[in-house]
Amino acid sequence: MIQPGLYHILFISAALFFIGVYGFFTRRNLVTMLMSVELILNSVNLNFIAFNKYLWFDKMDGLFFSIFIIAIAAAEAAVAIAIIINLYRSHKSIDVEQAEELRY
């Protein structure tokens, strides 16, 4: 059994990041896109915690940071969902491709 090192975790978080990015780019459903953003944020959390644990374990900066990120992500999601609901009211859809009126 290999002890997971920093690089493993970073690898996972990077993967998570790109999965999130990929999801954000390709999903048409607004809520799914929001979930993809959460994936990105979680990859960041993972980063912080890993750095804190493996490199800078004398202070708890990373840990705190990730806690705040989780909190903010919740707030952001709340507002985003509110907006999406509103969008649904007016557009009768939460497909991102239905909301492309503003352009050029």
Binding site: V21, M33, V96, E100, R103, Y104
Partner: protein
């Protein structure tokens, strides 16, 4: 010493007339303007005669040599410490002579116009213009500075322009005044550049200093001017040739003569004043002014003057034989006579006996002013009478206009060179000078003198003899005293001016020059001239078919001469076709489509580019995010790998 105030008054009185009549004439002096202008000029003339008397007989001579006096010099425009345009007065034989000629002829014209222009709507304007012209011409002749002469040179050109275009509602007059101005303007550019060259070479613009510097071989300026060369010709030669181009333009020398015949569109007294007696000889005067430099330093330039003068004289004489408009005949005759003066200068040398040509030229200028003004005014009286310029409308006027007839005849005799009239003496001297220094020109001159006699008497007979005149309706006599008096006075001048011992007063170096009368030498020219008169009499005294036959036998040549050898057409081709179509049009096209087009293209290009990149703003939030990430990663790569 000369009285500066008086001399200044000679010049400024006509200017005062111009300013007063120009501004207030239409309001206050509608009818009196002629009298005002004439009396001003009378004063001016009297002063000119007084000055001439004083100069020639009292204070002008020092040690047997007439001095160049500069009683007034005012720095008008200082270019740099050495170079300045000074407004000055130079008093020397030729300027004094010119003062007399200009004021006198101008006075005659003023008086004549009182009758000739009576009732004209723009009477005050006419006199204002005459005043302006007289002022400019007087300013020109007394100029002490080469730039001053250019200054008045241009003013003279403008007043000529204004007077030619006096009948401004006639399109032909408008065309003529434009042509006169532009052609002389073209020549003036040569003059201007010539001035620049000379001033740079000599370091001064002042005539006396300039001549002194450039004729003394010790000065550095002289050495530099000779050494500096462009296209293998020395700077000085260039300068003089360029100045001569200016002179040729004003004096209607071939090929810059085309404006003169057209200038006859002006009122006839104006032609008498400007285009016969005074302005057109300005070129001769200019060459005479710079004569020492021409003669001593650059004989090659003087040769050019001689040949251009001789050719123009011959050329004009030939054309004059074929013209039917009496003023045009006179115009070509003027050109021919000025050619005479030019080549007289051209064959002259500086100083002493060798300077005969110079004296002769000035003498001819003087006498020519008398008889040519006379002839023009006579022609004016005729035109006034028949209301036409064409010979075919005239004939047999000798009974209807006895005084005009007589004076005109005197004029013709004088110009033809029949002794003892004025023209005989001056021509005699010119021929002698040519004979002494340049034989080929002498022969040409002889031919011209025969031609002159012929065409002048052709004119004379056509007007006063030939067919009988049938006046349509009532006619109003010869014109009043105001028209006859100048004719008579000028006729007297034309008859007796020749007896003045001109060489005593005017010579190339200011010393006294005795010009004898050489009987055996005069035989040939007088004989030729009588022959010319005789032929003219045979052909034109009675109405007959001979002139047509003669013309038919000379077919091609006659036609060419009648059309003034197509010089006008050549110019027309050059200006209209070449300058307009090959330079003007392309320049305008270039400006519109290339320069302007580039500016517009920049604007349009920007807009087009902006339209093509609008699709980046697609409205898709996901593609925004893609650009976002791509931007971040792209910048990161750029700075990590490339811009390290």
């Amino acid at each position: 010493m000369p009285n500066t105030t008086l001399i200044l008054l000679i010049i400024l009185l006509p200017l005062a007339g111009f300013v007063m009549l120009g501004i207030y004439g239409r309001k206050f002096f509608r009818n009196t303007s002629g009298v005002i202008a004439t009396s001003l000029l009378l004063l001016s003339t009297a002063l000119a005669f007084y000055t001439a008397y004083g100069y020639f007989f009292k204070y002008g001579k020092t040690g047997g040599v007439y001095q160049k006096l500069v009683p007034l010099k005012y720095t008008w425009l200082q270019f740099s410490p050495g170079l300045s345009i000074d407004m000055g007065i130079i008093i020397d034989p030729i300027s004094v002579m010119m003062l007399v000629v200009v004021t006198f002829v101008s006075l005659m014209v003023h008086v004549f116009s009182l009758g000739y222009m009576k009732g004209d709507e723009r009477f005050p304007t006419y006199y204002a213009f005459l005043g302006l012209f007289t002022f400019s011409m007087l300013g020109l002749v007394v100029s002490s500075n080469i730039f001053q002469i250019y200054f008045f040179w241009e003013l003279v050109g403008v007043s000529s322009f204004l007077l030619i275009g006096y009948h401004y509602d006639k399109p032909s007059a408008v065309a003529a005044c434009k042509k006169a101005f532009i052609v002389t303007r073209f020549a003036d550019v040569g003059f201007l550049i010539g001035i620049l060259v000379l001033s740079y070479s000599s370091g001064t613009l002042d005539f006396n200093t300039l001549i002194a510097t450039l004729t003394s071989p010790q000065t550095n300026e002289y050495k530099n001017a000779i050494a500096a060369s462009f296209l293998g010709i020395s700077a000085l030669t260039w300068g003089l040739v360029l100045v001569f181009i200016g002179a040729a333009g004003k004096s209607a020398m071939f090929p810059l003569h085309i404006w003169l015949p057209d200038a006859m569109e002006g009122p006839t007294p104006v032609s008498a004043l400007i285009h016969a007696a005074t302005m057109v000889v300005a070129g001769v005067f200019l060459v005479a002014r710079l004569f020492p430099v021409f003669a001593i330093v650059v004989p090659s330039a003087l040769n050019l003057v001689a040949y251009v003068g001789a050719f123009s004289a011959l050329f004009a004489a030939v054309i004059a034989c074929t013209q039917t408009d009496i003023k045009r005949v006179l115009a070509y005759s003027t050109m021919s006579q000025i050619g005479y003066m030019m080549f007289a200068l051209g064959v002259s040398k500086y100083g002493g006996e060798n300077g005969l040509g110079y004296t002769a030229s000035m003498f001819h200028l003087f006498t020519h002013a008398m008889f040519k003004a006379l002839l023009f005014l006579g022609a004016g009286a005729v035109i006034h009478f028949v209301h036409s310029n064409e010979m075919k409308d005239m004939g047999g006027l000798r009974k209807l206009m006895p005084i005009t007839h007589l004076t005109f005849l005197i004029g013709c005799l004088a110009i033809a060179g029949v002794p003892p009239f004025a023209g005989f003496f001056s021509k005699e001297e010119i021929l002698l000078a040519a004979y002494q220094h340049n034989q080929s020109i002498y022969w040409i001159a002889l031919i011209i003198s025969a031609l002159t006699a012929f065409y002048m008497f052709r004119l004379y007979f056509q007007i006063f003899w030939n067919k009988e005149h049938h006046p349509h309706g009532e006619h109003h006599g010869e014109g009043g005293l105001s028209m006859m008096m100048p004719l008579v006075l000028l006729a007297i001048g034309a008859a007796v001016a020749g007896f003045i011992p001109f060489g005593h007063f005017v010579s190339s170096d200011g010393t006294r020059l005795d010009t004898g009368f050489h009987l055996q030498f005069s035989i040939a020219p007088v004989a030729l001239c009588l022959a010319g008169i005789f032929i003219a009499m045979r052909l034109y005294k009675k109405q007959n078919a001979m002139p047509q036959k003669l013309a038919a036998s000379l077919k091609g040549f006659y036609k060419a001469a009648y059309h003034k050898f197509y010089i006008d057409e050549v110019y027309h081709f050059i200006t209209k076709k070449i300058i307009f179509n090959l330079i003007g049009r392309p320049a305008a096209w270039f400006d519109k489509y290339i320069v302007d087009g580039l500016v517009n293209a920049t604007g349009n290009g920007t807009e087009d580019f902006s339209a093509t990149i609008k699709k980046f703003q697609s409205g898709k939030v996901q593609s925004y995010a893609i650009y976002f990430l791509a931007g971040a990663i792209g910048l990161a790569l750029l700075f990590i790998y490339i811009w390290k």
